[in-house]
Amino acid sequence: MTDFDLDRLGDVWRQQPDPAEMERLRRSAIAVARRARLGAIVDVVAAIAVAAVVILLVVANPKLQTMVMGSGAILVLLGSNIRLRRLRRIELKGLTGTTEEMLDQSIARVETTLRHHKFTLYATPPLFLATWLGFMMAAAPRPDSIFGSLRATPWFRMSLMAAGFAAVVGLAIYLIISIRRGRRELERLNAMRQAYREEGDAPAR
């Protein structure tokens, strides 16, 4: 390959897959599209179902408390749907924009995720302690109730504390791993961004 002819290399590059490979690609693509279509339908059906259940509960029990809780639940549902759609729009912009725009968006996304993870990592232990203290200091439930009798049992309190502690430790480990992974991803994204800057491309706009 001594003569450097891009047209000839292009012919080598553009070899068509054989029919079996094409069939495998076709099946894979159709399965992906089917799953995506199904996912979109499930999203809509689930949102409608949850909203319907909340409305039914409010109608069946039309008190101020249930109405407030129902409205809150629907607002949360609506908010999460709007947020999901916004995220999809951002992702779509990243897919169809230039590579540099995509890299900028990815850097912003990883930085935001890192900030959230760090906040959760630092906020979880004090929050856990505060919850535990609140639980211990709260007015004791009636001793004849199930919760009251359970709370009076030492092994229950110990088990609850151990389970809560294990959950906090598990979450902390997960967050630390995610933060490390996120930092590595950020390093790679910044290196790629830098590679573009070093190319010294003048934007066409």
Binding site: L6, R26, A29, S106, A195
Partner: protein
């Protein structure tokens, strides 16, 4: 190909004859499946991860298709989505992409076994060398090898023709050097 001339010429609307109308997904897969597969192969050497990447590209194309307005050819649009998805896929991998490559199956009816072996070897070398290029150069070389005009590439990457020429000449020099070393 005259870079200055072709880079300034806008790509024809729906240059693939689709006139801006989105064809059915199955048709897109039949027409552009090989393009998607080659782009995935040029970014990911591991066969399992490549399969995952190919599926992610198909999903990305499926999600992005409604936003295609026919202001560039469908092929250009799909190549852009495939490149962007491949780059984000590679950045999410903790390790660097491996350079090991399994042989790609080629069409056997046009070549005899000897020619096929030579061409397969050449293709493997080309793929391996392409994967070692820095990202901005790799992106340009892949699009050139895929047969896009310089005008389409400049439009797709939103860079000036002279910047494209510079990047392409660096990419060609690096690729040539790697291919000669690999002989």
């Amino acid at each position: 190909m005259d870079l200055q001339q072709t880079a300034t010429a806008p790509a024809p609307r729906g240059g693939d004859g689709s006139n801006g109308a989105v064809p059915p997904f199955e048709r897109i897969v039949a027409d552009y499946g090989p393009l998607i597969s080659r782009i995935a192969t040029s970014y990911e050497a591991d066969p399992t991860l490549r399969e995952d990447l190919t599926q992610q590209i198909f999903l990305a194309v499926w999600q992005a298709l409604p936003s295609w307005r026919g202001d560039s050819s469908l092929k250009t649009f799909i190549a852009r989505v495939a490149q962007n998805r491949s780059i984000s896929f590679v950045t999410k991998q903790v390790r660097q992409p491996r350079l090991a490559e399994l042989p790609e199956r080629l069409e056997a009816d046009t070549l005899n076994p000897e020619e096929e072996a030579i061409e397969m070897n050449e293709r493997e070398m080309l793929l391996a060398a392409t994967r070692r290029l820095p990202l901005p150069q790799r992106e340009v070389i892949i699009l050139v090898l895929e047969g896009f005009s310089y005008g389409e590439i400049a439009q797709m990457l939103e860079i000036a023709p002279n910047a494209l020429a510079l990047r392409l000449s660096r990419a060609k020099a690096a690729l040539k050097s790697m291919l000669e070393q690999g002989q």
